[in-house]
């Protein structure tokens, strides 16, 4: 399912639509530890996290992730947003907490890889 369709289905806020907003999302990953994302997230994954610091985007770039979704209406720090622009990583937001958001992603057919 492509990212823009997911965003529409789940009413996600598009914080930054650079990179490829129509990219095919091939899986999902959920963690708030950078080391965990580095170890296990896969290219094309949609990453669900509440972390808003700049390393989130750096890790997403390193792992070629499809997008980062920030939960609980959390806003990226200014340097995080800038890094997203520099690296072309789509940043989205949800007012839901991770558990509920992931449940809905699962219902859409997104699976862990």
């Amino acid at each position: 399912m492509c990212l823009s369709d997911i965003a529409r289905e789940l009413d996600l806020t598009v914080i930054y639509d650079g990179g490829d907003i129509d990219r095919e999302i091939t899986g999902g990953y959920a963690t708030d530890l950078m080391s965990d994302a580095i170890a296990h997230a896969k290219a094309g994954d949609l990453w669900v996290t509440l972390q808003v610091h700049v390393n989130v985007v750096a890790v997403a770039s390193m792992k070629d992730l499809g997008a980062v979704v920030l939960t609980q209406d959390r806003q990226p720090l200014p340097e995080t947003l800038q890094k997203a622009r520099d690296e072309g990583i789509p940043l989205l937001g949800s007012n839901l907490r991770a558990f509920d958001l992931i449940g809905r992603l699962y219902q859409l057919g997104i699976r862990g890889t």
Partner: protein
Amino acid sequence: MEKNLRRFRVDLHNHTSLSPCGDARMIPQNILRAAAERKVDVIGITDHNSAENVAAMREAAEPTGIRVIGGMEVTSAEEVHLLALFDGDDELAGFQQLVYENLHGTNDTEAFGYQWVFDAEGGVIDLNPRLLIGATVLSVHEVVDGIHGFGGVAIAAHVDRQSFSIISQLGFIPGDLDLDAVELSPFSEEHGFGPDELAAGVTGERKLVAVTFSDAHHVDEVGRAVTELMVADGSVAELRLALRGEGGRAVVGGV
């Protein structure tokens, strides 16, 4: 024997160009000039998980009168940042080995930045290939025990921050964690925990001493926050006494 105690302005949390998030201009002459401008007596060199620029910094500092303390900012498995500070080169080297043995991964320069090892003149001599921004597989307890095992001082870094702080990662400071102090960041008001959240996060009857340092990643940040100690010299041994309030040594202020 009574030693003469006097005020020392210390900034023990500084990054160099070795940290991937450290600005490339964080080389010895720039760091030392900035420290001198802010009248800092002792600077700690605490790159992420590595002390490879300490020797060069110390050599460059010799003619300046500024004392360099060697150490690093370790990332625990829980992604808590802890400052590790040592007096002796052997102790620092021993702790470095422990950290490197427990740190895996290779750096991605595009994603995280360059990790420059320099000489005393600030010339690049190497590019560190390790994932220094990564987490070790050592728990906070193992990190603190490791620091103490090599005779160092262990300080929980920027505990008021919402990321990579012991409070953000663990929810509270474990009562049995033998920290020497906690560090408050220079920007406590922004993006951080307020006083109530901090008070809730510090458990146990043990009172933890708070210190503040710059966490400098850019030259203009060096010395932006210092802690003032009443000590006999700028060593880690004296720092330890001050943190414990022993022998007349004390933490007398933070700016």
